[in-house]
Symmetry: C2
DNA sequence: TCAAAAGTGTTAATTTTACACCCATGT
DNA sequence: ACATGGGTGTAAAATTAACACTTTTGA
């Protein structure tokens, strides 16, 4: 495929020969309950690199941007190709473009995603899940990227109903509180949590209950009228 | 300059031939007091395009990413080259990469900047200041980009001390309140505003006063210990 | 001395936080 | 019957919001 340079070159412009390669990567978060314990932790899938640079190290799933697709589409495609996952929540995180972050010049558009409990499927070979709190040394600058994505997640959980992106359709208030506790890393008062979320108008109570342990807990659904969170400039916002 | 492709190509990778061109643009905000009135408005500089596509239309200042510079540096350089301005506050906004946003495939890393009153200098030919609330039809998708930047500014003014990025070193509480009022588009109670900002610990009172109108107003400075705002993943955050 | 902005005081309304206590179910 | 998590009630504490009032200057 040849490219025609029909867009003008401003002063100091680059020429066609030094165009930069654009990669797209995604930090995918989900929750996992530890088998023995009742603790829930934030986990994410990483892909083992099979070539240099950083062969053998773990890296974020991703790939190169294709000329025929938008950035969001590239993120969905590359994470599906490398992990087999299809998260329902996907949002752009940041563009990383320091000169020395890779042996060759690469600008990475990084996304972050949330996987609901029911969206967790078997992943491709070479993919492994890691506790977000205890990551090994990753390839490139991916440790800093994950740290930033975690910071965004913790931040956003405070002012949007993004936590719902980690739960199945129906859930109890304890399920939801557990998500907040895992993400924020601290316990929340069940009574106050209930009132806050009830007053927020984001939940619709069903007439179904989850039974099994002790007193049955009412199941809730999302209120589809309320947006999960602002996902960037593409939303209507006015 | 030739490039060696030493980074491996993941499954579905792009080849060197369809590398995407990367542009960097910046939305620069500052405040302007209307001569006759006491109203303050948010204004931004735009550059008239001298070539196709969109020749004659107004566009955000920007240019092509150079292989030898990081994204932040590219934003500083291109906005200086196209406008002559050097804002003190600069933060990445979003990466735009829809396929049809330009005749040729361009991924734009967009920054937004705040210009302090004392940083406003004479600008280059072809640059004109516009009221952010009444923009003409801009080139490419730049109208949506400015809308998003404005939303970010209004949002961020609520939870960070970013408003200081629009003021000179020393300022009165009325100056600061005026910034908030211009950005948020509504009046604030002077008494409550004073207390909130005093309790936030972000201001240091000087022993100087601004005289001239009525009762002299104390001048304040920034508390340099407190960060203006989180500017992205590059800050220390833990 | 008067208008106007600077700055202080006070109180009501709202939200947050802490925690006591009742309810319903499986074991 | 009882332990446990589900769910309600209540009140102190902190924050926000509204507005009356005093102070200090230039004109």
């Amino acid at each position: 495929m040849t490219r025609t340079a029909s867009e003008p070159l401003p002063p100091g412009a680059a020429t066609e020969s030094d165009a930069t390669r654009v990669a797209v990567s995604t930090v995918i978060f989900t929750l996992r309950r530890l088998p023995g314990s009742d603790a829930v932790q934030v986990v994410l899938p990483l892909v083992r690199r099979t070539r240099d640079p950083h062969e053998g190290q773990w890296a974020l799933p991703g790939g190169w941007l294709d000329v025929t697709e938008g950035l969001d589409a590239a993120a969905s495609r590359t994470l599906a190709e490398t992990t087999g996952l299809a998260p329902s929540y996907l949002e752009q995180l940041y563009a990383f473009g320091a000169v020395g972050r890779s042996p060759t010049r690469v600008v990475s558009i990084v996304y972050w995603a949330l996987l609901r409990a029911d969206e967790i499927t078997d992943t491709v070979e070479n993919v492994q899940w890691f506790d977000a709190a205890e990551l090994p040394r990753l390839a490139f600058d991916h440790n800093e990227i994950v740290d930033y994505a975690l910071w965004r997640l913790r931040n956003k959980v405070g002012y949007s109903r993004i936590a719902h992106g980690l739960l199945a359709d129906e859930f109890t208030l304890a399920d939801l509180r557990e998500v907040y506790e895992a993400v924020l890393g601290r316990r929340l008062d069940p009574a106050n949590f209930r009132r806050q979320v009830e007053n927020s108008g984001t939940l619709i109570p069903t007439d179904r209950f989850r039974t099994g342990s002790h007193r049955p807990a009412r199941l809730y659904r999302y209120n589809q009228d309320v947006e999960l969170a602002d996902r960037g400039p593409l939303d209507a916002r006015h």
